[in-house]
Symmetry: D3
């Protein structure tokens, strides 16, 4: 089971110029064969189906725990896409709303990007790839054979790194760049984790394959803050009390820098998400969102809850001061 | 983001007679249009894409929180399928193993059930439906329009209830029965939650649609323990500290029994999963799992971890005494 | 636009021994690449998209009119499947119902046929093929080029004839046999119609390709009544007043028998459908259908309608005396 | 079975400036999950598979009859798309034709809209959605459980309304606007019909959910003529003699206006379709359509048909004076 | 089995201005329903599954041999797409490379063409159609019935000709034009071959259907060189020693020109492919390809191979002087 | 381009007891994600799209050449499936044929195996997996990045080995066993080849991963003859004159046995295929195949070909004496 906490893994910049074509490309990192839905679902199914897990506990813990982090990556990709789509429909003004005032508020996006971002969704992320094809279960590999599953996972992370680099090269919207910079660093950690697991099981030295594709992550500006904080060395334990044996596998030197790999015994704090503004032209969350707010306020009061919404959200327009802290906690020390 | 804890929502009986044909049918509850991957992914995407969430906080909290519970339902369906598949391949004996001793250890499942349970997976669950077709992103509806999304969710839970009842009628393996009994109760709670949300927003009285399909849950023996414990009335908060406003929506009388609905401010404790035994014929987790165990032990020791695996698992063969406790905690009281 | 009349094209025998495995095979004639959904949708889209139709009126009329007949073929395939599935779930008795009395009323169909006939549908037909894969729009060819579309249609009817013959050979349930016997005769007429159209446009003599596959239809017992009635020679006009130019294309000798082809200027009368009985185990149309009937009766009366249902249905259990009449009307004579 | 009559439900404006990008977006209303193929096929399969229909006759009649109207909606969407695509390829002139004169007559649409409109089709509609993905049978829900099927249908119409509104906002081509204006009004009637059916069966008051999405239809200019004519109140009976019991369900006040709902005991007259001009660059209906016309003329004469085509078509260039008449017939009065 | 020789069937012009939108359209000829993967795989499966092939040897030889030629057509489509994509990413310079120098080397293709050409592939062809949907096995028809399979193949070649003509009209990039010019000529030969086979088996005169679509190939400039060389009359035998009986079917006059059809008893010589340049921005074949070259050189030497690469490639920039020779060899004479 | 020669890579035993359920399982090795269509198409696309191939010639030659061998593996899987399906329909006798004599010749396979083997195909192989889902282009990975593509290929061969082992365990029909025994040996060679390529490029020692799954191939009886012949050590060059640089990569010791790897400079001779008998019940190749033979004979004579079919086929019923010879040729020596 999971507990969910309403923080995202890193700060995605606030909405700026909308970029629907860019958002359509970023969908590859969501629902493509190597997107975050794939990493999340692959490791999740492998952990659900893991047989003889006591005997192979360090490996089970590794896969199950990385699965948990991947949920947060799916969340981040969605956040970036939603940010990039904000403002792409013509805005309403005052109390009268589209499509009545602005007769064709979606005219600007006809033929641009993924039409279903607007027609099927409310200017929001979809479980699709960059060609608008839905993610599907064929992308999951869970053979149950530990060595094979780990080999797959190493390859999956390699393909994911490839796709992230290319989306980085294609889309320079600040949200896309922040996203890919972060995912490249975290994906690199997972690539290493699976390589180490395979090395421990078979002796094969996959560390020599790093980096693939051959662009050192630290040459990419948007990766730097995360590297400076040490996030390229850390595996976080995303559990209140389980998955204790990560350090049995995730240890030794980083294949590119030689620095020591570290298990952090708690999940990253993250940052509050921004409350992205309604887009009345697509009825998200409603054509007249203030009426929903009115109802919500009454319900809250009737239930004895505070007058104001209890959820914490980041400032919509300004950069958040501090993202995730520069953790110093060390594993097993 | 999520924290994962290594407990499952309820006890699934230990492996008994394998039932590969039944397991193939139960896949509908995993990867079918109305399976648990659909409920999980629908609510997850709706929460990721929720715009103006502060204004609609009780509704956001509701959707985001139920999403978290659904992860656990996907996990339970996988557990049931894995249990039903355990033992379906001929077992190895001593140190020499299949396919060398038993020349055709999978002969017994040729033409039975979903062949990919054995060929693609290691006698494990797949993200597929009962016809062996993969789950896909077309099953996700996230329009961003709150009333529509809730209408969808109500319908989705209705379809899911239908499918669970029919799988119950088709498969009498103890694992399938325990699974469906539990999911029917919990799905009923979610059906009510979405009906209440719609009622609060629009005044429409969907409570009169209960139950659909029209079989009272309390007439089904495998539902009884959960009803006796009060689980048909409870919405659990699956978060360390967020989603505080559930009670603003989830309240009032149960549409069938008239009892008061309750928000439980913490997630269910759950029970430890069973460590399902290796199936060497399908190389899960390996053809010679004891060698993996040997490596794991050394890694554990080198990392300063205890000699024995740290993960908690239930007794493989015996029924667990107590499943989830009979909670008495009340919401906001 | 269409008008619908509540008759089916021929009599399908009443429910007898259920045959879920046979019903799964018959699905190929519904949602397979060469199934009736394909013939219906191909000709429908070709007619919708037909450019310059005044100049090519006889051809437009031909395609548009055959499309209309194909709707009735989809209906017949559904009727046959529904008939074959009737009784496949354990029946309820008295007032207490499944799954409460019969604890597992679908046990008998676990691992038999298409599981979604029972789980997704209410023992009813699905838009799927014999492998449980959904029909999809890729099966539609509508190039707009008249000669190509006709070439396609000829090939489509050829493939459809192949599939019908094989389903005939595989499934001997009376409903399947009656269905395929009829469809073979009518499909043959459409094959001829498209061959004639091509001959008229290009001079190519496709009549020499008959029959493909090379089994004379009149050797198949279930085809005989339709041939005896002359249905292998007739193209019906399925319209109150349009599609007047069929006879410009559909004329000349039948390629196998030499008899004269005939256009019948009205649609076949058909026979009333049977009202297939509820299957409460799958909640079709309800777990307690008599309560629905009670409501319906009241609504009928409140609306000033007769006390008894107005719809005409055939006797559920007995063979209908006469199916479609032996028409003598001749085209343009 | 059906009879087809060669009229369309309303006038679609004549071809003007082609809009291939707009046509690609309108495809969502054709082959998307909530497109007209979905409404048509859902209600059609539900009616084919309806068990115990005599007992539930008013509901059977309702579903079967709305299915018939939906065929006409598929036809209208195709008509709008075909209209929007007319002229998108460079025109030929005189007797020598593309690609010989204009060397690249499709150059203008490279990278614009759905390439298969030109490559696979003859500038015509496809059974695809706005991302070029084919419609598929997974979009059909036919559980056989009456209450569930009606709940689905209500949700389906809600999603369809959402998609129509957004396509309206995105595409301002006159054909698209006329189409969506009409479909919004008719879809609204179906939404009400299903809500009424559910209310009659369960007492649930779904009328309070209107409108969803919350834009009153009468604020949309292109909806006005249809509302003025009363089409927002009328359910037409699309049958020569069947489906007599519509009025048992479809009655009472309109949820938004309070006006009385009406059953019209005959199908709308409709308007003749335009005969959209050949597009020789894509060989529709031929590279040299006048030769086809020559052949057709001879065939017509040989069959004793009038010299001129018998089919009625609207003026290609001018607006039709009167579309469907302002009916006054009342149901059961 | 096959032997592969590293020549392509005709010269594709060297890379010039990149055309990613055009390359996306050309994909229809690769992975569309009528693309070269379809012709290749259809004939290949038909030949694999051919029963009673000794009795039907001339037909078996025909299908099996044309399958072999189609492999080369898939290769040519890939070559054209790869040529058109060359240069579409910003180039690196010197030793420092993208994305470090040019920060967003793929910016120019955001929203243009098929994004997976860049994200999933290394600016290379994909097994997809022009809408980015993958080719799939449903496109294969292999009924085993010889007359039906040949009817299908004739229709398939007809549809393929249609698609090639339209891609010709849409994309005027030199590589696309050279490709389609050649494929139109060769496809025409296959169309004739299947028509002749059907004529021999049944007497049906399909020659009268030529050409469909009705544009004489010899009016298309890019077809001329191939016609001048006689390639519209020739069926090559793609085998060292098998498929001897082609001439039993492929003979008689060409349906359009009346010239005699010819079997050439050896495969075309072809031309060496160009070695398309690395595209470091997409890491094809590497971010620093010269390092790969260094490794390759050492491996070559260690294996006793010549210092320079042994493979023959055409000049990258200049037109090849002579493509395939003007063969004079005649079949069986 | 390719030359095709009408030999198969090894002997598949003659038809014996039909095994349609087994044939359905073997389809996983044809059209599954890790089936032979995947290996063939992956390496083929990678070779087509290979940029900078002169610089990386040994690697290009390796991938291009293994692609050619994989065509033969697709052929072998088809041969095995066709063999297993032979005789599964009731046989005709004398001159009168099914379905006229044997009224339901396919009755025995209703509900057994893949229904489309009989309905869509002529008891022949399909491009589908073991669940009857078509192979699709999403299974192709061709990133253009050499190291990634090789990593993928290594993983693909690993997954393929897993699937072959399980099909071996599930299906003991002699044709399936002979097939899997051979493919395991040849797949092992390819696994080694890609591991060696990666080692040469990066230094990573993947040889330590062998074997995965961990069953030594030489313990499997059906692998023995191929190992005895030395086929586990040999990479054949499938080209008349190209792909000369295989030995630059494929060399060194076998990871399991330590024996020296060898490049054989010519393709294996193979064995003639059996001419599997007609199955008139499914019209393959015809309902009356002797009439086709009569026509073929006349055509052959008219073309001046020998009276008897020229193609070489193996004895249908008896084992072939010698399969592929025990080659002694050594690479570069």
């Amino acid at each position: 089971m999971i507990l969910r906490y309403d923080r995202i893994g890193m700060e995605i910049p606030p909405p700026s110029d909308p970029d629907p074509a860019g958002a359509a490309a970023v969908q590859e990192l969501m629902g493509g064969r190597f997107g975050e839905m794939s990493t999340f679902m692959n490791y999740t199914f492998q952990s659900f189906n893991f047989r003889g897990r006591q005997g192979a506990r360090p490996f089970y813990d590794l896969v199950a725990n990385i699965a948990a982090e991947e949920f947060g990556h799916v969340e981040l990709v969605a956040t970036a896409i939603n940010t990039m789509l904000t403002g792409a429909s013509a805005e309403s003004n005052g109390t009268v709303r589209s499509p009545l005032v602005t007769k064709n508020p979606l005219e600007g996006v006809k033929g641009v990007g993924n039409p279903q971002h607007f027609i099927a969704a409310g200017q929001g992320a979809l479980p699709q790839d960059s060609n608008g094809r839905p993610w599907n279960g064929d992308y999951v590999f869970a053979s149950g054979d530990l060595v094979e599953d780990l080999t797959h996972n190493f390859f999956l992370e390699t393909g994911a790194r490839n796709n992230k680099l290319k989306v980085y090269e294609m889309v320079d919207h600040p949200a896309a760049r922040a996203l890919t910079g972060y995912l490249l660093v975290r994906g690199g950690v997972h690539q290493i984790a699976y390589a180490r697991a395979l090395e421990n099981l078979t002796g094969a030295d996959l560390m020599k394959l790093f980096p693939t594709p051959r662009i050192p992550t630290d040459k990419i500006p948007e990766c730097r803050p995360h590297i400076d904080r040490g996030d390229h060395l850390r595996l976080y334990r995303f559990s209140p009390g389980d998955y204790q044996e990560l350090a049995a596998v995730f240890n030794g030197p980083h294949p590119e820098t030689g620095e020591e790999l570290v298990v952090i015994e708690e999940a990253p704090e993250g940052v509050p998400p921004r409350d992205l503004p309604p887009q009345p032209a697509v009825f998200a969350p409603d054509y007249a969102p203030e009426e929903v707010a009115e109802i919500a306020k009454k319900l809250r009061q009737a239930a004895g809850l505070p007058k104001e919404p209890t959820g914490l959200v980041a400032d919509l327009k300004a950069q958040t001061k501090r993202s995730t802290k520069k953790a110093t906690a060390r594993s097993r020390s």
